[in-house]
Amino acid sequence: MSLVVPDGTGIDLATVVPASGGPGEVHWSHRHLLDLDVVAWPEIELVMRTTDAMREVLARPIAKVPALRGIGVTILFYEASTRTRVSFEVAAKNLSADVVNIAAASSSVAKGESLVDTIRTVEALGADMIVMRHATSGAPYLAAEHFGGSILNGGDGWHAHPSQALLDLYTIREHLPGGPDLRGRKVVILGDVLHSRVARSNVWSLTAAGADLWLCGPATLLRGFERWASTSGDMPGHGRFTVTSDLAAALRDADVVMALRIQRERMSGGLLPSLREYAARFGLTLDRLDLARPDVLIMHPGPMNEGVEIAPEVAVDPRSVITDQVTNGVAVRMALLYLLAGAAGKPRSTSGG
């Protein structure tokens, strides 16, 4: 029997699982999933294997299991988002959880109720787990301090989006020619890295996977990342990554290219002259993709600005796995809800005993 540590920041794992996978003594020990910086590679592989099982469930005629029956999952989104919010709702319902969906704009939150008060109210109303998205970096950590159950971060400011990075990883491993081992494979994240929580979370997971990760974009949108890259080799459990505004160097022989959304607001912030200029210099076009490997995987976390960061032809190219990212999102989120429910620290039985 092993010890469940009901603590938000995880523990060291006693046993390392070989990169080729296979069941080992790995257990999920994190009460919350706030960011991937504290999740070790063997735990990430556990999420991958659990996602495989969830995909099998999704393939059934009745795509539902009672694993989280009696568990209250509250989805608390302070930022508008249809796809991620619905993805989490479907995931929770497929596990038979009791789901409450709160869109902040329509609730007392809009009247100025503080985050801490909202969390306490949600807990009093029976939430065992909260999936939250917030516009301010770090908000889930504040929520975790004041909540007795588990917090799953659905995206906080520019900081983290762990479930997205994990579904990105799952999708890459599923489609990567030559097998799921990412060690030494070149993955390029292209676009507005500075403001991207998807990029930051992917840095943690892809460097843990041993990938040869490149971050590329206009220099104004890479601010601060060169400093991170220069210390990346010193972070235990993670490899080095490269930062460059040289698009050709980044794309050359890439195995995976992930384009990030460029937002109009970046112009008013004075960081880019125009979207037209961005598209001209950094847009992912078929021509530019010729620099990558012929079997390169094309990815985008969505929603896409076709014609800006990604050409429409590229989005529908046979090598694009963008729709798989969406499908896998439900399975990955089911896996995460399932694993978090087990580490919640509150002993819970869904049957009467």
Binding site: S114, H134, G138, W158, R200
Partner: protein, 479 residues
């Protein structure tokens, strides 16, 4: 009370200290340049005797036990009255100051209403009198009406009403032309302008020092240039202002970057009448605390003077995004903190000032990016400075000077006539510290209404046993 400290009778805070004897302590008197074993006698509020010991009598007395120093002087604190009494009042702030060993505190005018006219200044002084606290309260008037930076405040009336200087702190003096006029007019009045150097155009929405921590935590960066460019602007304007009024004086408060210190060092070498202070939290804490590190700045730097990465070092021990760490200017990197320490030692920095900024829980216990800026620091200032002394970063004498004669010299240049020495015959103004003891920083232990300290739960070195201000008891350790 520690051995050797004999306070006769039980004295209420505020009452004259009738009879106090301190034997076999380590006296530190930066005004006379003396430091060493000695004894103190206070009688009827007056410092009757200061005896320096030597030879066999001095044996066994060293700086690690009871230390007696002149009462500390804080050039920069916020007591929030009038307008924000939920966060602090002059009375609670004075109690906090006394707990921290301070006997003189200079209050910033960013109250509501701002201290931009004599009547508001009068209210603050009345509050100080009503509090019954013996702490010497000095007040800055605003530079501009409502601190908006557009028109000059009633500088003359404020000076007549007792203002020690002028500042728009909370904010910089926004308009360069207003700054120029203020330096000249205030110089004419014999008062300095204290500027909070910040270019707001570079800090819109900024949350944390632009650096590795802000990048990884997804916080909007606060560039060093925001402070350095403002310092450069102010120094250039000061140079011109001197032609109009040779008595113009500029004091730059809470400098936080190596670049700013470099500019001040240059300006002083060139003979410009500029002084500056740094806060204890900028000396001892760094932006890595926001990521969850809890080591002091001097522990977070490698042998080549480069900041260590807390991720690489496994130094992250607490949850990240503690809003108690959000402050303006932001906590910087370990090499900036090291530059501040070097500037303390080489004399570029004139004083350590706390920038005590109490806030209510409502304003602080929120998401990091929404939290008010400020650290409640007047009670923990001495502890942080002594931690640096214990780590060998700063000699004790220099540390005490930065908290006494340094600020006193700045104030003295401004017309304040209080002295900061252990002078026989003067009203007793001193702090007694037991360096062999520690104290735990806890909300209940803080006299300030502001519990927004990142040091909660931590033990700090040095207990303040006694604070005597102007001959009257200001604080006595409960233990």
């Amino acid at each position: 009370m520690a051995d050797g400290v004999g306070l006769a009778g039980s004295v209420e805070v505020g009452r004259t200290v009738a009879d106090l004897e301190i034997s076999r302590a380590w006296l530190v008197d930066p005004a006379s340049g003396r430091e060493g074993p000695g004894e103190i006698v206070v009688d009827d509020g007056v410092l009757r005797q200061v005896t320096w010991l030597d030879g066999t009598e001095a044996e066994g007395i060293d700086p690690s036990g009871v230390v007696v120093a002149p009462g500390l002087v804080d050039l920069h604190a916020h007591f929030r009255e009038p307008g924000f009494e939920d966060a602090e009042t002059v009375a609670t702030g004075s109690a906090a100051a006394a707990h921290g060993g301070f006997t003189t505190v200079c209050l910033m005018p960013n109250t509501s209403p701002a201290i931009d006219e004599a009547s508001v200044l009068g209210r603050v002084r009345e509050a100080a009198t009503r509090s019954g606290s013996p702490i010497d309260i000095q007040v800055y008037g605003a530079v501009s009406v409502d601190r908006a930076g557009e028109t000059l405040a009633a500088l003359g009336e404020l000076a007549d009403g007792g203002a020690i200087g002028f500042s728009d702190d909370g904010a910089p003096v926004r308009s360069p032309t207003i700054l120029r006029s203020a330096l000249v007019y205030a110089g004419m009045l014999g008062r300095p302008v204290v500027d909070h150097p910040e270019d707001p155009a570079l800090t819109g929405g900024a949350e944390a020092n632009e650096g590795l921590v802000a990048t990884i935590l997804g916080l909007k960066g606060w560039p060093a240039a925001a402070e350095a460019s403002a310092v450069a602007r102010d120094l250039a304007i000061l140079a011109d202002a001197l032609a109009d009024e040779p008595r113009a004086r500029l004091h730059l408060t809470h400098l936080s970057t190596a670049a700013s210190l470099g500019l001040v060092r240059q300006a002083k070498t060139a003979g410009l009448p500029v002084t500056c202070d740094v806060t204890p939290h900028h000396l001892a804490l760094t932006d890595e605390w926001i990521a969850g590190a809890r080591r002091f700045a001097w522990e977070a730097i490698d042998a080549d003077g480069r900041p260590r990465s807390p991720w690489a070092d496994g130094a992250l021990v607490a949850a990240p995004y503690d809003p108690a760490l959000r402050v303006n200017p932001p906590l910087r990197s370990a090499d900036d903190a090291a530059a501040l320490m070097a500037a303390l030692v080489d004399g570029t920095v004139d004083a350590i000032a706390t920038d005590h900024a109490p806030h209510t829980r409502v304003d602080k216990e929120v998401e990091f990016g929404l939290a008010a800026n400020g650290i409640s620091g007047i009670e923990t200032a001495l502890g942080l400075v002594l931690a640096a002394v214990e780590a060998g970063r700063l000699p004790l004498g220099r540390a005490i000077a930065l908290l006494t004669t340094g600020p006193a010299g700045v104030l003295g240049g401004w017309g304040w006539t209080g002295s900061r020495g252990l002078v026989e015959g003067a009203p007793a103004d001193l702090v007694v510290i037991d360096r062999s003891a520690t104290w735990r920083v806890e909300a209940a232990a803080l006299a300030s209404r502001g519990k927004n300290s990142p040091l909660l739960g931590r033990d700090l070195p040095g207990r303040v046993l006694l604070t005597v201000a102007g001959g009257r008891l200001a604080h006595e350790d409960a233990a």
